[in-house]
């Protein structure tokens, strides 16, 4: 019935707007990765919608030649929920940051994850407020000096993946801005997932928080600092995959062990099971330098999406209550006739 669709290219995905992030911003790499990815997805361009709040990352929709809505601070998940309720066929991506998604919009992010609205939610985490010129954010490490914390920040940071799992998200993953090869299949998987997919992307802000992720972004350290997750495989890392993550059953804590030392064998290493929520929670808590930080899908356990249930319920009501009829509605209940 439909004419064969001509395959889209990166060029088709780029809008005519000049990209205005600072030189060297991690957002460029993410934008490029997504512009390359979108034509690979089996989605007509007119069904692609990018929705954002406020912040550097939230300028993203202007650069995608798709439908887009740059909304207000923190509210993208709520606006996107309305879009999906109106038209569940649309392929909706929410672009947010650590301030937008976890500070002013924390409540909306919590509830959109809990409800499991079928969205891809990409949180660019640069641990700083960029657009408002460098104040510390809810993911900034303790001691972050910024215009609003000249003596160092004192409040504990939030861990986005821990937050997402706690909120009831059913797809939680992490990647790194410049790691296109890692991020591309990860985003494909997030897109495949029905329901809310939450992806935290470590993103470098070269102006206000430069190098904050160097410990994990640096290729030389990658083998030691990253725990590359693969469902069904033992969680090993290190230059020769000689290290691994083991569960200490007595303390119910994860620990780093070396295979071949102290009688440790590959059998002792935890095998990643992305459907295991308890494991996902423990993984989300792993933080360098004591641990390698998990990269990949921490948790994936699909369930019916919110909007699908909404429409199913409506269908059921329609089957039982008959066709909608305004005149019948107006004449419902007790009526009487005056002659």
């Amino acid at each position: 019935m439909n004419a064969p669709v001509q395959k889209l290219t990166v060029k088709d995905m780029s809008s005519d707007q000049e990209v205005r992030w600072c030189p060297g911003c991690g957002d460029y790499a993410i934008l490029k990765t997504i512009q390359k990815l979108m034509p690979e997805l089996d989605v007509p361009r007119e069904n692609m919608v990018f929705i954002s709040g406020i912040g550097c990352s939230s300028r993203f929709p202007y650069y995608m030649n798709t439908y887009g809505f740059h909304t207000i601070h923190g509210r993208a998940p709520a606006i996107a929920s309305g879009v999906k309720l109106a038209n569940p066929e649309l392929d909706v991506w929410v672009i947010t940051g650590d301030g937008d998604g976890l500070s002013i919009g924390g409540n909306h992010l919590l509830h959109v994850l809990r409800r499991n609205v079928d969205l891809q939610i990409l949180l660019f985490n640069n641990e700083i407020y960029g657009l408002t010129k460098g104040q510390y954010s809810p993911t900034s490490r303790v001691g972050t000096t910024s215009p609003s914390t000249p003596n160092g920040s004192i409040d504990l940071p939030l861990r986005p993946c821990t937050f997402a799992i706690g909120a009831g998200a059913r797809f939680v993953a992490r990647s790194i801005d410049t790691e296109t090869k890692h991020m591309t299949p990860l985003l494909e998987q997030a897109h495949e997932h029905k329901g809310a997919s939450f992806v935290e992307i470590y993103q470098n802000c070269p102006v206000y928080n430069d190098g904050i992720f160097d410990y994990i972004k640096d290729k030389k350290n990658a083998a030691e600092s990253r725990l590359l997750l693969e469902n069904g495989s033992p969680m090993t890392f290190g230059s020769d995959n000689e290290k691994g993550i083991r569960l200490d059953a007595k303390t119910i804590r994860l620990e780093v062990v070396t295979i071949g030392e102290d009688g440790v064998t590959l059998e002792d290493i935890l095998v990643h099971d992305e459907s295991n929520k308890v494991m996902a929670q423990m993984l989300a808590e792993l933080k360098g330098p004591d641990f390698p930080e998990p990269i990949g899908v921490l948790y994936c356990n699909p369930a019916e999406s919110y909007e699908a249930d909404v429409y199913d319920q409506r269908e059921f009501v329609r089957l039982t209550s008959g066709a909608p009829d305004i005149n019948a509605l107006l004449r419902g209940g007790h009526t009487w006739t005056v002659d």
Binding site: I54, Y67, F69, A78, R318, N327, G333, T337, V338
Partner: protein
């Protein structure tokens, strides 16, 4: 003109009166709202014109016997047009001393008071603040008193059904209803039917309630009542022929939104967050899923507004609803809808404020907020519903304006209109003219900034349409392309066009009419919203006394009707009664440079007819 005057002595010796006000008052757990609603239904079926005023406390179950926990339901019915819930009470039903002490002041001299004598215990008297028992100390001598131990009567009546003491006593309200129904010759059929439906799963409860209802009725019929207490006859009202039902403002507004959606050929996404007294809309619409409607209880007011905006972006009609404090939270999102020029409907069921204020009481609190309560220049249309039934047409009108002009529209209702009910001559939906929305589909020459040259509405292109991919957002946009623009001249131009679009809506709304009286003269009383009934009656009475006074009731609060200024300038004096400190009068003064006078009331209670009447007289006297 109040009541209980014998118009004629009939062979049955019944009192024939032209109108009556009955108020049921009791603890908030006594079921007074239910009693009132049943009596209302029976009265409507009987053929009287009527208006009701439910007045309940914010506490769901206040401590029994406390004055602040008194819940009341007032109904005014009669044989002539009834537009308010009435001023003075002719019949007061008081289920305990607290209900008596808080309501007896409104009872007319010679009025009937029915009390549950069993509830007048020493403890309850103290709780209500009585030093001595009013049933015994002569303080009720000005009234006709029916003092009955209702609890005892009820326990006797429901004995055969084996209910516990507690459940048996819950039938007290039905017993009392039966008694009042006898007083006015109302049929118990609709109540019996309702009880059987409500308690279908618990037939013993249904039977007990019906037995109590019948027992109350029989008691009144057979007991030797004190002299002067007998059946009241209220002749049927002369009303326009047609099919009638009772409708609350909340129901009418819900149905109007659904009707508007159909007329616009649009699905509706209704996103809301619970708040008194606005939640009724969410409840009513949530039960209408057979229509092209999705309802969404969001996590907060902001999310509700945003979800509605998202829905409108995606090609549905987004509707959100709240009361004053919740509308404040939605303010930033409403400005986004103004900036992106998307259709959106915001319903504000106003309540007493500021802050939590008086959540269950009525006030025209938020006209200023509707007109001015956002950041920057965000003019938007505001329309107000004046009666319960009017909510239906107001909702349709809001949908028409929002979709024709791609703009947010605020509907102002209030706690009084939302909760009260009135008989409604049900319209035929086929008589309404459709106004189907035309979405953009042609990529040729498409820009998200395109406007309809006549209405200035921005083009509405929904995601899913091939070739129309575009971005919108809160940043200022270029007038031609819709791309983001920080250009100085462009911002001026965009601000101007957004304002002109709203201002020019005045050309597309009906001209203001005069509700009553001449189009020029000595005095015009200008109202808006739910003060309609009191102003209507007040002006009517003054006109019957020969005074030169007219009534204008404004529905389109912004932009104002094109002829309103000229109309008002045809009167020597303009009086604006409002249930606030003068929000509309200030608009009239500033827009038209007219020396309009104010009459303000912020007690959480609607105007009484006589308050309007006496101010009209004062205005006319001060002139001569």
């Amino acid at each position: 003109m109040s009541v209980l005057e014998d118009l004629a002595s009939t062979p049955t010796q019944s009192n024939v009166v032209c109108d009556v006000v009955v108020r049921f008052a009791g603890d908030s757990g006594d079921g007074m709202q239910l009693t009132g609603n049943n009596f209302t239904e029976a009265t409507a079926i009987y053929g009287n014109d009527l208006a009701t005023f439910p007045d309940f406390p914010a506490e769901i179950r206040a401590p029994a016997g406390a004055t602040f926990g008194v819940s009341a339901f007032q109904i005014y019915f009669g044989s002539e047009d009834v537009t308010t819930a009435g001023d003075d009470v002719d019949v007061l039903v008081a289920m305990n001393p607290a209900a008596l002490i808080t309501n007896v002041g409104d009872l007319v001299n010679g009025g009937l008071v029915v009390v549950d004598e069993g509830a007048f215990t020493a403890k309850n008297l103290v709780k209500a603040g009585y030093e001595s028992n009013p049933l015994e100390d002569g303080s009720l001598d000005a009234y006709r008193l029916m003092s009955i131990d209702i609890g005892k009567q009820v326990l006797e009546a429901v004995k055969p059904f084996g209910l516990s003491h507690k459940f048996a006593l819950r039938c007290k309200n039905m017993w009392t209803l039966g008694l009042v129904m006898w007083l006015f010759e109302r049929s118990r059929d609709s109540t019996v039917e309702g009880l059987q439906k409500k308690f279908a799963a618990k037939p013993e409860i249904a039977d007990a309630n019906v037995a109590a209802l019948n027992a109350g009725h029989a008691y009144a019929e057979t007991a030797e009542l004190p002299s002067g207490i007998e059946v009241y006859k209220v002749p049927r009202a002369e009303v326009t022929p047609g099919l009638y039902r009772n409708i609350t403002g909340t129901e009418a507004l819900s149905y109007g939104l659904l009707a508007g959606g159909q007329l616009a050929s649009l699905p509706i996404v209704f996103a809301s967050y619970p708040i008194t007294p606005a939640s009724g809309l969410l409840h009513t619409l949530s039960g209408q899923k057979q229509f092209d409607l999705v309802t969404f209880q969001a996590e907060d007011e902001i999310a509700a507004a945003c979800a509605a905006i998202g829905a409108s972006f995606a090609g549905s009609l987004g509707v959100t609803s709240s009361s004053g404090p919740g509308i404040s939270l939605k303010g930033e999102a409403i400005s986004l809808a103004c900036a992106t020029e998307l259709p959106l409907i915001i319903v504000n069921t106003q309540r007493g404020g500021p802050s939590t204020g008086l959540p269950t009481k009525t006030e025209q609190s938020d006209l200023n907020q509707a007109l001015f309560g956002r950041h920057a220049d965000t003019s938007l249309p505001v329309i107000a519903s004046s009666t319960c039934a009017d909510c239906f047409d107001v909702a349709i009108e809001a949908v028409r304006i929002a979709t024709t002009f791609t703009t947010p529209v605020i509907i102002l209702s209030d706690g009084y209109v939302a909760n009260a009910s009135e008989p409604w001559c049900v319209p035929d939906f086929n008589d309404y003219e459709p106004f189907p929305v035309k979405f953009a589909t042609d990529p040729e020459g498409f820009s998200p900034a395109n406007r309809n040259p006549e209405t200035l509405a921005r083009v509405w292109a929904k995601p899913g349409t091939p070739g129309l991919e575009h971005r919108i957002g809160g940043i200022e946009k270029n007038y031609e392309t819709g791309d983001i623009s920080y250009d100085a001249e462009n911002h001026q131009k965009m601000t101007d066009v957004r304002k002109s679009k709203i201002d020019s809506i005045a050309k597309f709304i009906p001209e203001q009419t005069v509700d009553q009286g001449n189009e020029t003269g000595e005095l015009v009383v200008v109202g808006w919203g739910s003060t309609y009934g009191a102003i209507h009656q007040g002006v009517k009475r003054c006109r019957e006394e020969g005074m030169d006074v007219s009534h204008i009731h404004v529905r389109y609060m912004w932009p104002l009707p094109i002829n309103l200024e000229a109309l008002l300038k045809g009167f020597e004096k303009v009086l604006v009664p409002e249930m606030n400190m003068g929000q509309f009068v200030d608009v009239i003064r500033s827009q038209f440079l007219i020396d309009a006078q104010r009459l303000n009331k912020v007690s959480g209670q609607p105007f009484k007819i006589r308050e309007i009447e006496s101010e009209i007289k004062a205005q006319l006297e001060s002139q001569s």
